[in-house]
């Protein structure tokens, strides 16, 4: 529970802290909000114990055929 509260407090603090930089740029505001929402969702999933996939599984599948060159 306290982890979720901590995360929400951190997100609010980040938004308040970045407000002066975001004042005059509409596009920046959008990109900031979207990336922050993605970050919030990812960390929420991590806190709630969903097992997130590692990106390296994809790379292993992609580069398996080329491995013999370096073995």
């Amino acid at each position: 529970m306290w982890q979720i509260i901590g995360l929400c407090v951190a997100i609010v603090a980040i938004v308040l802290f970045e407000r002066p930089l975001l004042k005059n740029h509409k596009k920046d505001r959008w990109i900031f909000s979207i990336t922050l929402v993605i970050a919030f969702n990812l960390s929420m999933a991590q806190i709630l114990g969903y097992s997130l996939p590692t990106p390296f599984d994809v790379i292993t599948i992609l580069f398996k055929p080329a491995q013999f060159l370096f073995q």
């Binding site: 970050a39 960390s43 990106p55 491995q67 370096f70």
Partner: protein, 363 residues
């Protein structure tokens, strides 16, 4: 924002710190696992291969000296394709950054802060990295200038104290299994520190003098020689088997040192070198991926991306390797073709296309 300006010496120093960072504890074990007592030969071959790759990077940066890697992608390939390629490079930098955080946390929770939760260490370190990135490149390189003498001085102290324990018989027999194990080790040592230096193509336009290529080459050479010395020391003092078994052999080397029964247990010196250099490696990677992301999305001020990307980096570093075995397996198999594709094949293609384009314009 004003573009940052750094000098050639500062650039060399940051390249050296980047090359040493995180490889200093890992590479002896990986090299020894791949090529046993010939790890030092593999290290030399890897260093020469790395220097050749640096020549390729220099040729690429000479095409558009005032543009970063991602900007020159867009100039060479056009807007759509260039942005797609830029995203591939950024994902490489970002995943590399997450593995660096994982390495650091893994080391600290294995050897020093055994009972601390992983998240706390990552959050503290990533906050520091975000802080440094927000202050900008000039601050980072000046900080590097301050810490560089400490890193080099402590390194020489460490190597000096390990001389009495050296046993040259540990290196025998030379080339027992032929060339194949050396090839394995050489590709591993190329992909772990040297190919990652492509990240400096993101920074090189910030250098005031014209000798960018020379300072990149020099920095790689010095950093590579330091890594080679450490591999040598681990093999000579610990022997092959213990170097393979330990996940951080250099740290164990620091523990073993007993200089005249008086100077003992200097492993904290090793930990200090590691912490300082890994900080610079992580900052450079994070700075490059934030800057790159800002360029691709057309953000005016890259600083607004530091906090969101920092949180994503935190989560990624927690999930990136489920365990030690996965990490070792991945680093010695799939990581090598992956980094060869990103850092050799793609830059070669870019260079070729740029050259062909220039010729077509002339005719």
């Amino acid at each position: 924002m004003e573009p940052p300006k750094i000098s050639a010496t500062q650039f060399t120093i940051i390249v050296i710190l980047f090359t040493i960072g995180s490889s200093i504890l890992i590479i002896p074990s990986g090299l020894a696992a791949a090529s046993e007592q010939d790890a030092w030969i593999a290290g030399i071959v890897g260093l020469s291969g790395g220097l050749l790759v640096i020549l390729l990077f220099n040729a690429l940066s000479k095409q558009n000296p005032t543009l970063t890697l991602l900007e020159s992608c867009e100039v060479t390939l056009g807007k759509g394709l260039g942005k797609a390629l830029s995203l591939i490079f950024i994902s490489f930098f970002f995943m590399l950054a997450s593995t660096v955080v994982w390495d650091l946390v893994n080391f600290l929770t294995t050897h020093i802060l055994v009972k601390s939760p992983v998240e706390v260490i990552s959050i503290l370190f990533i906050s520091l990295v975000i802080f440094a990135t927000r202050l900008g490149l000039e601050t980072i390189v000046r900080c590097g200038e301050i810490f560089f003498p400490w890193v080099i001085g402590l390194f020489f102290l460490w190597m000096l104290f390990s001389i009495p324990d050296v046993k040259f018989t540990n290196l025998l027999p030379v080339m027992e299994d032929g060339v194949k194990p050396i090839w394995n080790g050489a590709t591993l040592s190329m992909s772990i520190p040297y190919l990652q230096l492509i990240v400096f193509l993101m920074i090189s336009p910030a250098i005031r003098s014209k000798k960018t290529g020379k300072s990149l080459f020099l920095g790689t050479l010095v950093g590579g020689l330091i890594l080679l010395t450490i591999t040598f020391a681990c093999l000579l003092v610990l022997g092959v088997n213990e170097t393979i078994i330990q996940s951080h052999p250099s740290y164990v080397l620091g523990k073993k040192i007993s200089f005249g029964n008086f100077v003992q247990r200097i492993e904290v010196i090793v930990a200090i070198i590691w912490m300082l250099t890994i900080f610079f490696k992580l900052v450079v990677l994070f700075y490059a991926s934030t800057m790159g992301f800002a360029q691709v999305l057309g953000v005016k001020d890259y600083r607004i991306l530091t906090f969101p990307l920092g949180i994503i980096l935190l989560v990624l570093s927690l999930v990136v390797f489920p365990n030690d075995t996965y990490a070792n397996e991945f680093a010695s198999t799939s990581w090598i073709p992956y980094s060869f594709t990103i850092c050799i094949i793609l830059p070669l293609l870019l260079l070729l296309i740029a050259k062909v384009k220039k010729k077509a314009h002339k005719v």
